[in-house]
Symmetry: C2
Subunit: 214 residues, 2 copies
DNA sequence: AGATAATTTGACCGATTGGTAAACATTACA
DNA sequence: TGTAATGTTTACCAATCGGTCAAATTATCT
């Protein structure tokens, strides 16, 4: 019998690389909508265009697929926060952070929904990542914000809740997309809503944080 | 055989009233965490402390339970927006709206998560309510905000995105509770975080919307 | 080309799914 | 108290679940 990927130490084949990509792509489609429990391997196999045993040849369990997906997406998703620069000036840093997050909500909404689903379920698979790497990163950036506040560059405010508010307002356009479309109506549901959102949010945060325009 | 509730036209019994309450309570527990597809009648019956066929005696299908739950929760959830008063002054109205929403995120987070789950899945069960009653309500309140802006009471801004941003920032504390706790660390995960959030968000929105303190 | 390793599939497994049937137990009301 | 309506449970159903297995197919390398 063939040796499944996970038990092997050798190099990955071209086919492996391709098929694993196809499967994770399909898994993202399914998991991001129905969550872990609500998704089935059959669904994923269907979307991926292959048989269920074939999917299970590359990922031995449903959990393994989900795990691989989370790991990959977690990195991408935190990229904008990592880019948050202590040496930049507050206004442009915050503006571009908001823009980047909104672009991600627009361009890769499934990734956002995958996380949202995980959070709603109490993050049973990634609690360690939250308490570890994520917390460290946020702690670091919170310190940057606090420094800015002490230097009088922005108003004094709780840096953690500031970060939460940027996360929530931007990811809202991915996670609650249906609601946003429904409320805005068909005429405002084009891609232009992201530009409107960016304009509004940038102003809200720049003014709300008492940032002096330079 | 007994006639299930849904097919009956007569008054509801005391027992019916009680048991339906118990079931919906249990269903809220389960649906809010796992979503519709990820939840099972067995789970709900277990939490409700009754047998599966007994649950199905009161609600003939899983969908019927979910439907009843959504209908009930939708009303409660929109209460704060309904209370948004055109005759009040912008500062106090916005402050109290934020407070109310945060209180709900703290006191009835399961309701928030139920909706969030529904949104993530594309709102297959409540799209009509979104396009109808919800949109109407938001349209009405958006008009109020626009009036305030025209009167110079608050800065000009897109009223829809303003409402979205209040929704998302406040509900974040219910939907992403695990993440918030993980990032804040154990020492700041007491109920005090809601007070911190309220302080931060009120300032953000009051200043961000250019509301003059009176 | 032939051998070997990698990939794919159909048939299948026990457990769980949403839901039903009918016997049994309890309640409400005359 | 009797009885009809209401409520509850056990046993069960077909469909679907995550996952296995061995056989068949395809790709790779000499």
């Amino acid at each position: 019998m063939a040796i499944p990927r996970a038990a092997r130490t050798q190099r990955r084949t071209r086919i492996q690389e391709e098929k694993e990509e196809v499967i994770l792509e399909a898994a993202l489609d399914v998991f991001s909508v129905h969550g872990f429990r609500g998704s089935t391997i059959d669904q994923i196999a269907d979307v991926a265009g292959m048989s269920k045993p074939n999917v299970l040849y590359y990922f031995r369990t449903k959990e393994a697929m989900h795990r691989a997906l989370i790991d990959r997406v977690l990195f991408t998703w935190l990229e904008p926060l990592r880019a948050f620069d202590a040496n930049g000036n507050p206004e442009s840093e915050i503006r571009s952070y908001i823009r980047r997050k909104l672009e991600m909500a627009r361009d890769i909404p499934r990734e956002s929904r995958l996380f949202a689903n995980e959070m709603l379920q109490g993050a049973p698979h990634i609690e360690d990542e939250l308490r570890g790497p994520l917390k460290s990163l946020v702690d670091e950036k919170a310190e940057v914000i606090r420094t800015w506040a002490k230097a009088g560059k922005i108003a004094k405010c709780d840096p953690y809740h500031l970060i939460f508010s940027i996360w929530s307002t931007t990811q809202h356009y991915a996670d609650f997309d249906v609601q946003v479309r429904a409320v805005l109506g068909q005429e405002h549901s084009g891609e232009g809503r992201f530009e409107d959102a960016a304009r509004y949010l940038e102003k809200l945060f720049v003014d709300g944080l008492g940032i002096r325009h330079t």
